[in-house]
Symmetry: C2
Subunit: 407 residues, 2 copies
């Protein structure tokens, strides 16, 4: 497996385009289109929020009921959430327009929106965008990167990642793009993620694999604990790599699994590390928990603790807040067994042993905590299960951005 | 029932004192003592964090195993949490010293600490404080107010409340003081609350009543979602009002219940409204939920949403974030039935009807949201259960305080 330059257009037969439809009335692009020249088997994960947006409703139907999908159209600026029947009708019209211009059926078109909750989509602008997008579709890295930039909201930079691997002598490529920033939390909060691959794989196996991988990647990141109405992750596989079909959990499956896991994890980390206003990616690794579930619960509790996140922003090795967050997580562990280390490129420092502070150097701790990314390693010494969660620090800018978001 | 000036010393026979023991090396007092001239039946609620401090361990034993308590000594600056056996031994010594000087037994003395997690108590300073405190005990309002100030950490002002009521021709008084600020969350996060009453009441009934009231008051407030190691609420009743003993759930019980509920709720609101860095008290009232549990879950989910809290700070009627927080709470409701109002002394404004935004005036909404306190009323129109939660906005100062807390 090799990490390569690229993103959503890296795998064979995938094209992308983007444009400024004027939805945000700003100087940057706000719509994107992904298209595969061949129909794709697909799998997807959606927000678990009871309040979910019209495009989520649309995509669930498409992914669950259609055998294939072939295009995804995305807009930022307006989320098309809490928009009732009119919102759903707008989805239908959008999919219809995209399908018509690409000679597809509308049930093969997914739609994603992100932005402000409440207003209806500005359909005049959306229609104008959809007229432009198909003609601009390209297979180039540049087209992929521009699409990755067009789907951003408060993200500070586009997020792409791609790998290739050899499966039985054939080169298989997996690439993806995503956007995140605010409202990122376990269970798929306002993030959109699109992964494309030319692998030939059976739909059922892709679904199973993607569900498992989502649990250890996108569902283990958090920016602020809020989960959103629009979160969607979609993977499309068009088979153009012409590898032997992955139709059972054999060695081919394992190889592809590892590669897809890397792509998903790296994209998820890019989202966590670009949380609204944050200055660093904060990784929490819990080791030796009684169950996998306990390990996850402990890691997530630390990554979502406002007090711990503010301490990370202040480069303060406040292990009390870490232990405290473990304590209220509800997971099984013995506080008097916990070891805690902080780690970054500046080194590793032991902060707590068996639930008590060790005599560490505050200067060294501050040095370790001043680098990006910062990692906390928590050994609960109870069992054999580990889990990693990713988040970011809580900063002044987070509050500034979210107090002024609509103005 | 009448609200009166006063606090922990308002009820007959209760005295308080405070001093600067130098624990914080600052210019303000950091220790306090509460004493009743007669032994008290008592009830208490403690943090549910798995990591709890030595004084919590001590107090649980005292309240559960002793028939009476008669004194509580409190220090700020150091939490005596994660301090192992030495921490517990320090509690024992402290209780012993207080007991000796007041001619009590140490199992009638409660101990509360709040502050930084990790370091051992500076016992030299604590001993000096305990030598001073008993001699300064007074029944005056002033002594109570000074004690309320001495227990503060990042609180911006002391918190006291008191009422008196008539039970069968006798005047019964209930007063209390508390401290809060950071790490306040449902399930009793770093807050200390002390309530004293001269009512004559059976211990079992006091326990039952206090547990119920805690659930609707202190367990319904949140500042930042973190729960702490030291949270404690203690009520002491010394019987000096000489009312007929409250020994069954009759009219006397109801009268006393309502009064204690008011004292607890007002103290809890004072904590929420003085959350670290906050500019306003934010009240969330959920109406007509299917069950009481659903109503509580919905109200708490909104009150703990960072995005909603940041919007309140920005005076932004961002109903999308409110609906979103309801959606991921896990409680039962239909998003398409929800009505939302914001309310303050500037008026009341309907923002959402049946899950959709109404055509409200943004200017009016900003005006309503610019006052303190601010209230959100959420009608889910499903059943008959209501619940109220209290919190505060998420501000730039919250982050500043918590990024710099130990420096």
């Amino acid at each position: 497996m090799k990490i390569i330059q690229g993103g959503i257009t890296s795998a064979k037969g995938f094209m992308a385009s983007s444009c400024n439809a004027g939805i945000k009335n700003k100087d940057h692009e706000d719509m994107a289109l992904i298209y595969s020249e061949k129909p794709c088997v697909a799998a997807a994960a959606f927000t678990q929020n009871k309040v979910f947006a019209a495009p989520v409703k649309w995509d669930k139907k498409v992914v669950n009921e259609s055998s294939f999908i072939q295009a995804v159209v995305i807009n930022t600026g307006i989320a098309n959430a809490c928009t009732g029947n009119e919102g759903l009708e707008n989805c239908e019209e959008e999919a219809g327009m995209v399908a018509e211009s690409l000679e597809l059926s509308s049930e093969n078109v997914c739609i994603c929106s992100t932005g402000v909750i409440g207003p209806q989509l500005p359909m005049e602008k959306i229609r104008d965008g959809i007229k432009i997008l198909p003609g601009k579709l390209r297979e180039t890295d540049e087209a992929g990167s521009k699409a990755a930039a067009a789907i951003m909201t408060t993200d500070t930079h586009p997020k792409e990642f791609a790998v290739c691997l050899d499966i039985g002598g054939k080169t298989v490529t997996i690439g993806g793009m995503c956007k995140g920033a605010g409202m990122i939390h376990p269970n798929m909060a306002t993030m959109l993620c699109f992964i494309s691959t030319d692998a030939m794989i059976k739909k059922e196996l892709l679904k199973k694999m993607f569900r498992e991988i989502i649990d250890d990647s996108f569902n283990m990141i958090s920016v602020d604990g809020d989960t959103s109405t629009n979160d969607t992750a979609i993977i499309m596989a068009n088979g153009l790599a012409e590898n032997d079909l992955i139709d059972t959990e054999d060695e081919k499956y394992e190889l592809f699994y590892e590669a897809l896991k890397l792509v998903s994890t790296e994209l998820a980390k890019k989202i966590a590390g670009d949380g609204e206003g944050c200055t660093c990616l904060f990784e929490v690794n819990v080791k030796n928990a009684v169950t996998k579930e306990d390990a996850k619960t402990l890691a997530k509790s630390v990554i979502t603790s406002n007090l711990t996140k503010a301490a990370i922003f202040g480069h303060d090795a406040n292990w009390g807040r870490v232990l405290c967050a473990l304590g209220y997580s509800g997971a099984e562990f013995d506080p008097e067994k916990v070891d805690l280390f902080f780690e970054s490129e500046a080194g590793i420092i032991e902060i707590m042993k068996n639930g008590n502070a060790v005599d560490y150097s505050e200067d060294k701790a501050t040095e370790v905590l001043s680098k990006n990314p910062v990692k906390a390693v928590i050994d609960v010494k109870e069992g054999k299960y580990s889990s990693t969660a990713w988040g970011c620090d809580l900063t002044l800018d987070y509050v500034k951005i979210n107090a002024d978001y609509r103005s």
